[in-house]
Structure formats: C-alpha cells, structure tokens
Symmetry: D2
Subunit: 366 residues, 4 copies
C-alpha cells in the first residue's frame, strides 16, 4: 500500500527528488535468470534524457543508472533490483525564488498544504525527473519481457502537440525513432519543430498526447472487475506527471459511437480469431484479446513558464510568478519513453499474474 | 492483491454473477459508529435499478440490499460489512444461445480464452449487473463521508449521449435529479429521449460520457507519484464496465492548451487560496487543491444489439450474432450512479489515508 | 490492505459476527476449472462444527455452507467465490450480561476501547465462530490443491492439552481421525477425555498446542526476506483466535541447540536431496526444502469460564465476572481444522506465487 | 505484494546482498516533519554492527548509512526515504568454496533450487547482513514514534543463549545496555561470555531467544482477524533470518495454562483499567490493551560452522562441509536490535492505521 509503488507481482517503488543526491527505483518481483546489465537500461534513459536538443530542457544530466542489487554475473537473481541515478547538474539556486511562492498549475501549493515541508529545489519529488526512475524500471521490465515473451513489442509516439495532430495516413513505424518528437511521420516532425520554436519564443509551453502500443501480447492477460488490464494501464498512465486523461482504443470517442459501429467483428483465421477492427484497443472485459493494446494519454503544458501569472506567496500575499530555470516547453515529448516504461511494467506484471493465477489460457477456439 | 477489490484503507471486494443466487460487496475499513441501515443504501441502488423507464433494460430487479454483518444497533462497528443483493428475475433461457458464441465487442471471447469456463448466463461476472454491488458499497462510503466530512457532495450527470452533448450554458444542478438521463439541462433531456427512441428502433445502442464532481473536498487529499488521487480515480472509473476513457479536469483537451491558458491563477480569499479557473480538475501533483474534483469518463455502446454482427462460435465456425434478451440501449445512463459510487469510495479512502499518514494538513497559507 | 483479508494471489476475506444473520468468506484468486461444490467444503466444516461431543461447546449449528458465486456447473470460474454460513442457533440472551462487562483475558475490553461499539452477542466479530469462514475457505484451497498439486496432504493434530503431551513414540497418522481430540495416539485420547471432564467439572478451561503438517510440498515455495513461507505461516496461525505462539520445526527449542545438532545433513537420493532430519521444519531461508512443512501453535484457554474473575464494567465499576453461555472447555480441539485450513490457504497461495514469479524451479541438483 | 516489503501504511522494502556494492531500505509512509538525520539512524546500526567484540563475526563494516531522499533541511518530507549502506569489507574469496556446495541448515540449497542463480558471496540475499537495512528503517520508525507518541519505548534483550536462561529475579532494565549480550542481568553476562567462548573453541554455534517489549503503547492499536497487532508482530519477527518461533505474552506456555490462571484480572485505576498480570502480552483479540506488548522469538544456531557436516554439491556429489569465513557464533546477540527495529516498524504502522481508520479511541471506560 505504498503510495510510491505500482504493480502487483512485478512491483516498482520509486524514490528521490530532483535535486537530492540521487533518485531511483526499487524493483521487486523480476523473475530470475533474465540477462541484465546497466547498459540495457541506459538505452531507455538516454531516450528520456534532457538536454539532447532544443525541444527539451537544457539541464544536463548524464542519467547514468547503477544497479546496486539483484543482479549477479549478468543475470537477475529474483531478489530486489535497486536502480540508482545520481543527480549531477543541480543548479538549486535557479529555484530559490519558488521556495515561498506557488506556480499556478503546479503541485507547489498542494505539497505545501499537505506536508508543510517540501523540497522546493527543482520541484523536489513532484519534478518530472522522477520519471527517470520509471524509465529505468521499465528497462528491467523490457528485459524480462524479452526473456519471457519475446514477441511483445512496446512502442510509443506522439500523436498531438498543442493543436497539431499527426496525419495517420502517413503513419510509418520506422520513422518514430528518427526524429526529435517520436512522431510516426517525418513531415509532422518538421512542422512541429517550427511550431514549438514559436511557442518557446513566446515564453509559453504546450500540451501533448502520446500513444503507446503493445504488440504481440497474448490473449488472456488481465482479470475482471478491478484487476483489469485497462484499469492498471489507466492508473499507470495517469500516475505520470502532468497527465490529465487516459484512453483505451477509441477512448473518449467511444461516447459518440453506436453499437454497430463499435463492434469489432470476429472471423476465424489460421492462428485463431481475427478482428475486423480494434475499437476496443485490444482489451475486452479487462482482458487482452491478442490484438494490439492501444493506450493514449494527454499531458498538460508545463506550468513553469516565463510569462507572468498571478499567484500568492506562502504568506498569502499576491505575486506575479515567472518561472526561470530550465524547463521543457513541451513535457509531452519526453513522456514518450515514460509511457512506454509504464506499459512495459504493466504488461510484465499481468503476464506474471496470469501465469500465477491461471497457468496458461484454459479455453480454446476451434 | 485481490483482482476484485479496490481501495487502500476503505477496501471493497465485489462478488457475484448476473444470474447466480446473489451478488454483493464485502466492505472493509469503514470507520465505526457511522449510522447505517439498508434503506440508506437502497436509495442509491434504486437510482441504478433497471426497468424504471423505457430508456433502460426491462429486466425487473428489486435490487434489495441486505446488510449481513458489520452493523449493530444502527451503527457500523468497524468490522467488515457484507452487502448482499439477491438475484430474482433471472430469465436464463434468454442467454442460452450465447453459451457457444461470442458477441463482437463483448468480454465473452476473452473470458472464454482465459478461463475456459464462463457463466454465460446474462454475461455472468462480466455483466454490468456487478455494478449494483459497487453502488451499494458507494452508499456505505457516502454514509461515512456524511459522518466524517459532511461538506462533501458527490454528484454525477451525463454530458454526452452519442453525438449529442449537453449545453453547459444551461447547466442547472437542480435539474439533474428531475429527468431520466441525469442531465443538468431540461431541454437536453427531452431531445435525448427522442434520439434514444430512434436508436432503439433501429436496433442499435449508443455510447455516452458521464461527469462526476466531488464538491467540498478539503485540500491535501492524495499523495505523489502513485498514490495520487487522480491515479486512483482513473483506475476506479476505468474499472467500470464498458468505460474506455477517463479525464480529470481538462482531460484529453489539455493536450491542445498552452501553459498560459492552462494556469489556474491563484489569489488569496478570506478562507484561503482562490483559483481563477479549474483546468486542473481540482488536483495538482496528485493532491486535491480544495476546488471541485472533476472526473469524466466515456462509456462505449452496449455490444448486445439486435443488429446482426459477424462472429465465430467456440468451435471456430462463422456465425451472425444477434443478441436478444433485455439490454440497455445506452448503458451510460445507469453508469451515473456507478461513477458516483466509485468517486465516494475513492474520496473516503483518501480521507482515511490522509488522516492516517498525515493527521491533518501540515502547511498553512497566510 | 484489508484488515480482514489474508493471502497474496489466493486471497480470503472473512466477514460476519457470531450472532448476526450470517458469516462467511470472500475467496478471490482461486484458479478456474477446479471441481467444487458445497459438499466438498461441508466435510471440513463438519470437522470444526460445535456440539458434536461433550468436549466442545453445546451450541448447535448446522454450519451449512452455501456457495453464492464463482462456481458454475460444478467448477470454479476464476471469479470470486462467496461462501455464506447462516447463523441459526443464536441464543443472544445468554450474552446480554456481557454487554457492559469485560471478561478478563477476552477481547471485550479492547474492542470497546477501540471501536466504542461492539456487537457483544456471542463475542460478535471476536468470536471463534469466525473461524468457520476460514475452514470453508480452506476447503476451497484444498480443492484447488487437489487439482494443481495432488501429492500435497495437510494434516493437523493436537500435541498438547494443558499439561498433557502426546507420546510421539506412539505416533499413528491413521489414529488422528478416529478420536475426538485429533490426537495421533489412541491411549492419549482416552486419558485426555478424563482430564478434560475434570477441568470442565471444576468450571475451568485449558490451553492446547496443535501441530499442522504439509506433506508432499515441492521445494522452492516461498521467497526471501518478507514473502517467506514461514512468515506467512506465522501470520496465518497467529491470526487464529486465542493463538499466542507459533513455531516452525524446532521452534522455540531451536534456541537451545548448537549448530552441529541443528544441521539437517544432506545426502543425494534417487529423486533428489535427502535430509537426515528436519529441525528446519521443511523451510530454509523462507523457502520450502521439499520435506514436510511442520508448524505448531499454542492456543490459550478460553477466557469464558464459570469461575468468577475480577473485572470492571464499562462504567469502571468493579464486578466479578462469571461467563455462562455455551463455551468450549478447550478451544484448541476445534482449532485443529482451523490450522489445517490456514495451512491449505498459505500453501496454495505460495504455489500460485511461485508459478507466477518463477514458473518452475530453475535450479537442478545432479 | 512485494516479497521484500513489510508494513501497511509505514512500508519498508529492503534490498541488497551481502557482497554487492550496497544494501538498504526504501521507507515509504513516514509522516512529514519528523526531525531526522543519518546520525539518528547510525546509533541503532552501531548497536547491530559486527566486529565489536569477540562474541560476533570479525567482519569489519562501518555500516554507515546515507539518506538519499525524503529528508529536507533536517525533517522528513512525507516522500520515500531511501537508506543506503555501502558494503566495504567484502572478502569474497572466503566464500568461493560455497558456490557449489550447500551448507546444511542454510538457505543455500533452497535458493539454488528455486532461482537457479544465487549470489553465493557471503550468502548474498540470505545473509543476515540484510538486517542492517531493517535496523536503519527501524531508526526511522523510532524517530517518527518520538514525534507522534513520545511515551513509547522499545527495548529488546536476550533471555536465552543455548541452554542458559536469564534469571528474571535479577531483571534490571538499566543493565541491558551495559553488556555485550544485551541481557538484563550482569551476572548472566559474565557467565554467557565464558559459555560462548567454550562453544567457539569447539567450533560450534548456538541458538538464542530474544524478548522485545514495547512500553507506553496506547490501547486500541491493531484490528481483529487478520490485521491483528500480534499477527503483524509474528510475521515481522518470523521474517528475521534464522528465527524459528514467535511468542506473544505467555506464548507456547499458554498451552499448559487453565482459564483461571490465564485471566489477567482487571481493576479500575486512576488513569483507566489496570491489569493484575500480563499473560496476554498486552494484546487481546489482536488489539493492544495499553499494557506492555511483549514478544519473544527464537533464533536458531548459525549453520556456518567449522565442524564438518555431510552435504552434497550442486552436481549431487557427497561432500563434507566446513564453513570458514567470519561468522557469528550466536547470531541471536545481534538479533536484539533487529527485533527492536521490527517492533518499532510494526508499532508505528499500527499507530498510523489506527489514526486513519478510527481517528482516536471511540470507547471510554468510566
């Protein structure tokens, strides 16, 4: 019941603040004998790492992850894996002026009210820097998936930045890794670069939507009622900093559909059931169908902006807040690897749960 | 780690199938000395009860709830409260034809694959009938909230049915309870009645969106990172049958906003901070701000429709599925009290968690 | 985190009071397709049932268990199994005089202080009657074990009643089921009958020690540090009413041993390692060795006795308490099937956990 | 459901191996604004630290704990506290010879069978070195108790080493901290020193029993049935390495008592109820009475001894095992601060649970 943990059998607890000595994740429940070393996690951390191009914060962090436990001679042992990332570029003085003011739209005020004691340096625990720990943990989940269910692929990409959407008619899986925005469409990447430069110049930030797909997942993962695969995905994505909405398949658009439109019709293929469409996003009754599992989430714009906003101080005095420091104009970009990490953790967790509770699928078709 | 439970300190486990002898909820963690009797729960069950008008399934169920434990001389004792609702109108023969076929868009196929053994009568465990147990549990949560935090009000209403939206300029809280659709706007209720009649005639069903608001909530509820108030709300709502998307405040629309637009500016009022707007939906960094907590979710259209859809049998043979039986043309309507119940459970749970972990808010303003 | 639940994947929540309408257990996490009907549970309930001979309370309860959910056409479906036992012989007036007094050595006073509201009839929630629900749940666990690990046998027996111990040189497994005391030694049964009659006559009660053995368990169940098999067994047994001590293998006697004495030496047998002794009680480092798992627990004497004891009333006035009503002179006797039930639940839970987290044992010998 | 975590609201997850780079504890759920720095934890670690006298292992470890998160400007923030202890004196070569053999009575064989991959250096995860992390976490719990319930005192001491018991007629609380054995009796300390020297010379080890008392605890902590205070204490103590038995109050001796003997009679004192005795160990029905909470546990003798014992290799070949390296002749001595730490964690956890679920005691006497 830890407030900083997620997962059932594969259970991750993150810890650490933006400007403390280190942050990390305690990963419990990784199966033994999974090949693992720090370089396998670093790949994903590098994807999330700030300061790589003009579109993200200029904070320079190596984000070098160390494995302190749970791995022996290149393999997991089945015991807890401690992942530590030391903070190196902590210009705390950038943040001194927010010690006693609340950024509108930021967790400053709620932390203050609840705890009365917050590490204000860089947002402390509420900083998106915490997501580095999730990405490291997601790397462990990916390594375990590679060993247990090698067909599973997890791919995230942006589908919207501010008022700009991707053009799904140009969707190209291979393009995602080639551009700074993780968009499946080269032309969009060019356009967004200009759009974001404009926003940054106007001292503003912007929201985004990210889609994460798990491909190659077997049918049968999940459980009814509250241990649903989509329940856990919704919680996982909503727990990411700045996320305000989560959708499975059609998502909010399902409200506008009729039953005839929404029915993913079924035919029998050579390897089992084949669906004519995937309005359901690969999940029916909380259990995976064997289709792609499709999750989408919206990230709000960063509240740390250079445009002045009205607020108050801890003494209750009015103040105009301008947030200097180094911030992402669109945190949604770096949310892509975070969403992937959460998907990897949830999928591995449900694979283990399914194996534990059921063994293997008990029903056949044909 | 029960797959059929939710909540941390206030913990609900639902059980039962659509056509078994009974269904219910085991409610653990209700504080002692809360005035409670069955009639206080029945109010909410009656709101969800089917067969009350032409807009919902014609199944006739009294949905009479019995309290089997945890209440003594009209008050809770602090021990588990068992709530049982006996099933009475079980025309199982209606469902015999779905024993060996899969309704497109329904959990039939995933239950079959996973468990190999499903109570197909009325959808068994996957039936929306399970939500009666949630509503009963939500009634317990409401009673406890009334005792512990009497200012808290929880109100749900429909905001969309199919392509029709409510008109927020006509929003009237008092109207919600007056019409069959729980809409805050009398004119919409009239229009929707005609719209739904049309859909039913065309042997179709339709999706919906429901908004649930918790008013009067103190600031400070929730916790960072994974025990977030919004994380638990997202999970709670996504766990409801047929829900495909969950939003907090701006929700998916946050993706299109800029930082200046999204900032809920703060001024100091006589009783504490006052926010110029509520894009955040009353939650920042996972912790309540003291504003209204606003959650929205989309319900997909019922998959049980009279229009034929292509599917397969358990033997893998092609078949056209038409679902007779008594089904809701728009399950979203009856999802309103269910969403309220989930909100009540989550809010009470976080009140108890906050009291346990923090005591009372430790930071002041002014 | 329910206070009334135990188990990780196989999770049991009990509910109900001694003199309410019913009590029972909500069992979540039972694998699907396990053959199950009420008669399979009744066998174990009958073993615990009161009023069967002069050695136990004369309360007459049929203890007839009903399965309200989770079983379809004679097999489990993988969804929650609700087990209900209706209370029939509730002579509440027997207990009216304890509404405002506290029996020394009984939970009356702590319930009063904590909750301020207790169902005093028959001890309410603190009555050993709650253990009927555990026995029913244990019956589900046994059925699942029969399906998943048919070699596992779970057998409990008394090893001590008051100052009388069994004679292990006369140990006979077959004798256990033949006598009223579940002792593995016919002569002891005869002697204890006289001893207990004497105690009852002197209006007293007496403690007992019970041993429960799980035979045929595979090696590898459990996990280090806190998910230990012995940790869960200790918790399971200590949670039974009136239990004050729990031992694994040598138990408290291990304190007196030297390392040379305590070492269970290992040789290689035809089917794997063979141990020269079982001081460890079948568990090393929290993980099963493949030997018999041996747990022992002490049950204190019933506090409800006819001999007057000094106490106070809820007003704080002095009073002499004599507990009339129908009570067991030695609750340890009926604790035997309860201990077996807890063992069955823990063993099944760890089988599922092992399957989920590890799959199957990953190390071989030879 | 992490296998390496304990606690409900105050939740501790330990990680790390004996000879890895570091080990530690992730502590979640510590209330905010508790004064805390590393030196406050170091006090307790120093008490457990090896190599301090001839009675314990000669491994030299500074056991210097670092706080990596959750503390800001000398106070807890309410976010996870990461405690890290770097391993410095890792003579791994001492252990090379156990890589392929199993020490009788040790977890070597069960780890091998389950995981197929064990960090054999110094016992890896199964080493009692893991308890350093518990002691550090216990230090956090003590600091929080000091802030929340300053009357609570937690004191552990040895009551038995091998066949030698303390003499309770000479019990002196002040003596405990003065001798190497944490015994409440100076004469015993002298005798035990000679006894242990003898055992060490004979290349043997010996078991022990430790008693831990929590004084000044309010009545009302705990909950019935499974969230019992004694259930959690039993689990906490049994989870410590080498523990084979746990007792509350009379413990196993309760089996021999009659109801008249066992009744702790109650009278009314100036500040509430007064008990004539404490057979119950301060817990009735799983809930604290306000008396001292008394827990006792037995620690088996170290299996790592210089006397040869029969065993097998991973290939199944017979071998005689002699364990060199640096081992405690009586691990029970250093188990004293570990038992205290577990008690502190459980007590704090139940204080928070009680506050969350109940608020404050709802029943009065007089």
């Amino acid at each position: 019941m830890s407030m900083n943990s997620f997962g059932h059998l594969f259970r991750v607890t993150t810890w650490g603040e933006s400007h403390g000595p280190a942050l990390g994740a305690t990963v419990d429940g990784c199966p033994p004998n999974v090949p693992l070393d720090a370089s396998m996690l670093q790949v994903w951390l590098d994807k999330r790492r700030p300061g790589q191009n003009e579109n993200t914060t200029q904070r320079q962090e190596a984000d070098a992850v160390k494995i302190l436990s749970g791995v022996f001679e290149g393999k997991t042992t089945g015991t807890p894996i401690q992942l530590m990332i030391e903070n190196t570029d902590q210009r705390s003085k950038d943040y001194g002026d927010i010690a006693k003011t609340f950024r509108p739209g930021h967790a400053d005020i709620t932390y203050h009210l609840k705890y009365g004691n917050r590490d204000y340096r860089g947002g402390g625990r509420s900083s998106a820097r915490e997501t580095a720990a999730r990405v490291a943990a997601g790397g462990v989940a990916r390594a375990a998936l590679q060993a247990l269910a090698p067909k599973v692929q997890i791919i995230g990409y942006m589908v919207q930045m501010g008022v700009r959407h991707i053009d799904r008619s140009r969707f190209d899986w291979d393009e995602i890794a080639r551009n700074d925005f993780w968009v499946p469409d080269a032309q969009t990447a060019v356009e967004w670069k200009a759009y974001l430069r404009e926003l940054r110049k106007s001292q503003n930030s912007v929201g985004a939507a990210v889609e994460v797909v798990a491909r190659g997942l077997p049918a049968g993962l999940g459980a009814p009622v509250y241990g649903k695969l989509d329940t856990d995905l919704a919680a996982a994505m909503m727990s990411i900093n700045a996320v305000k909405g989560v959708e499975i398949g059609e998502g909010m658009a399902a409200a506008a559909l009729t039953g005839t439109d929404n029915a993913d019709e079924i035919t029998m293929g050579p390897d089992g059931p084949v669906f004519s469409s995937n309005h359901a996003g690969g999940i029916l009754g909380g259990i995976s169908t064997g289709q792609d599992v499709v999750v989408r989430f919206a990230v709000k714009p960063t509240s740390s902006i250079l445009t002045p906003r009205k607020s108050i101080t801890t003494e209750g005095h009015p103040i105009e807040v301008i947030t200097k420091g180094r911030h992402d104009p669109c945190v949604g970009i770096r949310a892509v690897p975070v969403g992937e990490a959460m998907m990897a953790c949830v999928v591995l967790d449900h694979l283990l749960l399914h194996r534990g509770l059921i063994g293997e699928n008990q029903g056949k078709i044909g």
